[in-house]
Symmetry: C2
DNA sequence: TAAAATTACGAAATCGGTTTCGTGTTAACA
DNA sequence: TGTTAACACGAAACCGATTTCGTAATTTTA
């Protein structure tokens, strides 16, 4: 990289001190009009740009926000990061992003890198491995260092920080309720292992809706997908039972369920209704299109970053963790059209 | 944020100088064993972490790479950024990401922010508005500042920098050739306006394949989608002509084409074959699944970042711009099964 | 005309590290 | 015993800015 022009260069060239240059460039009243004009003209001509690193060091703030996501090639998370960027940008912040790839180890490393002063605050959605291990010491470390932290979607209850979550119980309830209203009675649930708390919460909503309709949840038609094995095979098993609807806790499971149903000659939505989660492109463009719970990722990201910036810029305030719950909407499409 | 512990603190507490602390922490032979142990123990106990900003300022490098993408909620670009992150991580670099949202103005702003010293180099895929305007002065500015720059996918020929592109002509050729081999003769092309150069290149491949089969390209069945108007309506027009295949230059256009075909009672692939670009989830999960050209976004990202880091770390070398062309693969699925 | 106020600028500290060079003390050697 | 070398550490410069405070020169006021 070319040697950049600095205040020192300007000072030397024009025979003034660096303080004068600095002041002249910010149009200080302390400097005479002629001197200011000389300096500004020179700076302009040589395309002077103040060095951000120097400013960050001096001001003790970077105007950068760290983001750690479990993955990025994923409709929900890419939508969230869009929301984060949008909110950050409006307040003059930039984004440093890392991916944990669902790995505990990488999450810890990322957190270490980001917490060495490169960012003013951090937004995280916890890796599934971490949720499984239940080792959250890297997060408590952050808290004790008082680095502003916001968790979203996959959060840890025990960590005292701001959080933004989807109303997963309500969403599970809404989805199930929709199927029940549709006249479905044997609703299979394709969910995640219990350590992924969003799956657990969605299941609670599912069970609540069933109970209210006096239907007993049947463990035979509930499957907790182990992503290390064949997803399709695990879903297939549910189809061996008598079911008239499938509630999948994400888009992929919904799409796979649909494939299986079609293969078995089941008509959608006549023979079987399907409802998914995460309103991504698959749901929209598959045929029949899939009814989903829209998670409002953009809003989540935006709220998370606003919460974080609020925390960064008002650190004098006493600390009371906030939790924002984003309600989710049902997007009815072809896969659950009324019978 | 809590006041972090610095070298100065340690020095004062232990009654030594900052130089001694600095040396002790890097296990310098200049410092006696006992002093080193005292200092290291203290630093450890109080969880001392060197301030990255200070190091960056001193070393005149940030170990951060700036990335500007036109969008992120998009399978191809999210895959690319995954590749970039992966490559960067391996070399100890972090990522600062910005989105231009296809806007010229935002691209210029992003570039300005990143080029003030916050990053060691920049990777960009150019915004469509910029390609349309043909105003590339912000990029030539970067070049004259000698900030390492790599363009990928949507590149600008006139800018002298490293580039990573897909073999779009070859890909368009492959796709068309596949349809021709399939016995299709009336192949519609759903593409982008000409200023998006990838669209133009893919079309060249399409035309080349047609010519080799002695088929004349028919402008009536070629549509350049204007995304400001209804995409579906524009595609519909093509279906009013007699066609037996559709080659769409991206996944969305392919999925929309499939919807229209189905609505018109056409069977896929019997009555009409469909082929898309970008091997995303839609193509994989739609039914029938869609044959696509896989762009290898991960590889692109990785190559781009490797090129950039190479440039950053060997700036003494004379500058000869490199261009890496990534070949793309045809992924044959149900939508083009042989007649 | 002397005192006070204003103007225009510079010296130096600061942010948090690294690194070069110098120096006092002790040990080894002739 | 005088010289030299090794050892252990500190002072100060530096990276690129900002900002406080001091001050000489000029202008205003009494």
């Amino acid at each position: 990289m070319k040697q950049k022009i600095t205040i020192k260069t300007i000072a030397k060239e024009l025979g003034v001190s660096t303080s004068t240059v600095s002041k002249a460039l910010k149009d200080s009243h302390e400097i005479s009009k002629e001197t200011k004009e000389r300096i500004q003209a020179y700076a302009n001509h040589y395309n002077y740009k103040p060095n951000h690193l120097a400013l960050q060091l001096r001001n003790q703030k970077t105007k950068v926000i760290g983001v750690i996501l479990p993955k990025i090639v994923h409709h929900f998370f890419s939508t969230v990061i869009k929301g984060i960027e949008d909110g950050a940008n409006k307040k003059g912040y930039n984004l440093m992003v890392c991916f944990s790839n669902e790995s505990y180890k990488k999450e810890v490393e990322n957190l270490k890198v980001l917490s060495n002063g490169s960012v003013d605050g951090i937004i995280v959605s916890v890796a599934s491995e971490t949720l499984k291990n239940k080792d959250f010491s890297h997060f408590s470390g952050l808290i004790s260092e008082e680095i502003p932290l916001v968790l979203f979607d996959r959060v840890i209850n025990d960590i005292l920080c701001d959080k933004v979550v989807v109303d997963d119980v309500g969403a599970g309830y809404k989805a199930t309720q929709h199927l029940l209203e549709n006249g479905r009675k044997k609703i299979a649930l394709i969910t995640t292992p219990d350590h992924v708390n969003v799956g657990l919460l969605r299941r609670q909503g599912y069970e609540k809706a069933l109970i209210e309709s006096y239907i007993k949840a049947d463990n035979d038609i509930i499957v907790k997908i182990d992503e290390k094995q064949s997803i399709t095979q695990q879903i297939e098993k549910v189809f061996d039972h008598d079911i008239d609807a499938v509630f999948a806790v994400n888009e992929i499971y919904a799409a796979k369920s649909m494939r299986i149903a079609k293969k078995r000659g089941l008509k959608i939505p006549e023979d079987i209704a399907i409802i998914g989660f995460t309103d991504g492109l698959i749901s929209e463009y598959s045929s029949p299109s899939i009814t989903t719970i829209a998670q409002h990722g953009f809003t989540m990201g935006k709220q998370a970053v606003e919460l974080l910036i609020e925390r960064i810029e008002n650190e004098t305030e006493e600390f009371k963790p906030k939790k924002i719950v984003i309600s989710s909407d049902l997007k009815v499409r072809e896969s659950t059209k009324t019978l």
